[in-house]
Symmetry: C2
Subunit: 255 residues, 2 copies
């Protein structure tokens, strides 16, 4: 496999960075190619602005259409095109970050904001039908994607009735709204609970648990979200009445 | 009221910026004080690093404890302390942004990451019981908070059975995980659907709809999330069996 491992932690001595280094080593030993994007080390700029698109500052900026134009004209900023090349190269994408405020740290959120633009990751149409390819299809179709994250809370508080919300639902924006939307098949997230209270003695167990998941990366069954064009959604992109009848909310989007 | 209006859009001619300007004007006319934090205009740096905390770079950085130490010692970076002063001053906080990848643009996510730190917005204990104050109580208790956002999709696709997920659930990380967690009472989000396809002719309707919401800011009933210390959660922060029996997921956290 070609694995793109995107890492977002400010300290190279962190648990996050240590696990990433170990994961890279293990995947390499298994014969995979690994590229690491260490966003802090790269001093990645996470802020979208007109310069991303070589957009005339005298004209109002509509981000979506400016991005699509820039993709077509090949005028996206060079550092964005470089990241897109890494995504094209990859067949597996790992986003590795501490969960801050129930989402990605800003440096990673802005890697997504700037790189996964209209006309590249989405806003791509089927050449035959003209339909917009999304949710199970899209600009990044054929890839698998994995969240590796550490959370402050202990397990039960992120469970189905835990106060922080079920972690699978809290991560729905990433798993479904980002990965699946752009065509990538999301794997179950790898989670380190109580990450800021782990000790040196806990490390081997966490590392081994991650190694087990990484060994299964090529074969693991992805989360079974419904395909946009698989017949479950109507023309307004609402679940048809006969699909998961009477159910609402995030779990209804699982097959 | 003292309203802190935090704005995240790269173009001052955007729908987002126009609505913010109108909202500010209207609230001022109603006799409220309004401070606007226009994050792009401020060139806000959204990336957490050791310099935020005056942290010795020779020592490993644990973000949570480094932040708490810096709050106690008064050594948080001056631009962070300035934003915290605005939050202390406010009794109402508006976060105004286009919804990107089902969340805040990175510049705003990083305003939250850097400003809402341990020892300020959370990690605050009850001086009598020593309990950690969260979810309905916390460092920002007594304030109200409103999301104003524009989304690309039309209404039904963000409804209870829409493919993008129920917008109330997609915004749970902000409404519950950020606002409620730090003690702020979340109001229902104000949403502009199909925001990038609005025309000049749509503007007056959207503006007026927002004005109606803003006029009701001081009196509107907040979203009725359950308090952490209100008796509904057990010591592991899991809903007690008799509360919303048999229900799981995000709606179970509503009274």
């Amino acid at each position: 496999m070609n694995v793109l491992w995107v890492l977002a932690h400010p300290d190279p001595r962190s648990l996050t960075a240590s696990l990433a280094a170990d994961g890279r080593r293990m995947l390499t030993e298994l014969g995979h190619e690994v590229r690491v994007r260490d966003l802090h080390a790269m001093r990645w700029n996470p802020v979208v602005d007109a310069a991303d698109f070589d957009h005339d500052p005298a004209r109002r900026l509509f981000v979506g259409s400016a991005a699509k134009d820039a993709v077509r004209r090949g005028t996206l900023a060079p550092e964005i095109r470089a990241e897109q090349e890494h995504l094209r190269w990859a067949d597996t994408v790992v986003l590795h970050f501490p969960l801050w405020w129930h989402g990605m740290p800003a440096i990673l959120k802005g890697w997504v904001d700037r790189v996964f633009v209209n006309g590249f990751a989405f806003g791509v149409t089927d050449p035959e039908t003209g339909a917009s390819l999304r949710y199970g299809d899209g600009g990044l179709a054929g890839r698998r994607a994995l969240v590796v994250t550490g959370v402050g809370a202990r397990g039960a508080a992120f469970g189905p009735r835990g106060i922080h919300g079920d972690l699978d639902e809290v991560l729905f924006p990433v798993q479904h709204g980002l990965f699946w939307y752009t065509g990538m098949a999301p794997l179950r997230p790898f989670v380190v609970p109580a990450a800021d209270r782990t000790t040196a003695g806990d490390y081997a167990e966490i590392r081994d648990r991650l190694r087990t998941r990484l060994a299964a990366l090529p074969t693991e069954e992805p989360v079974p979200f419904r395909r946009q064009d698989g017949g479950d959604y109507d023309d307004d992109l609402v679940l048809r009445p006969g699909v998961a009848p009477g159910r609402t909310g995030i779990p209804a989007h699982l097959r």
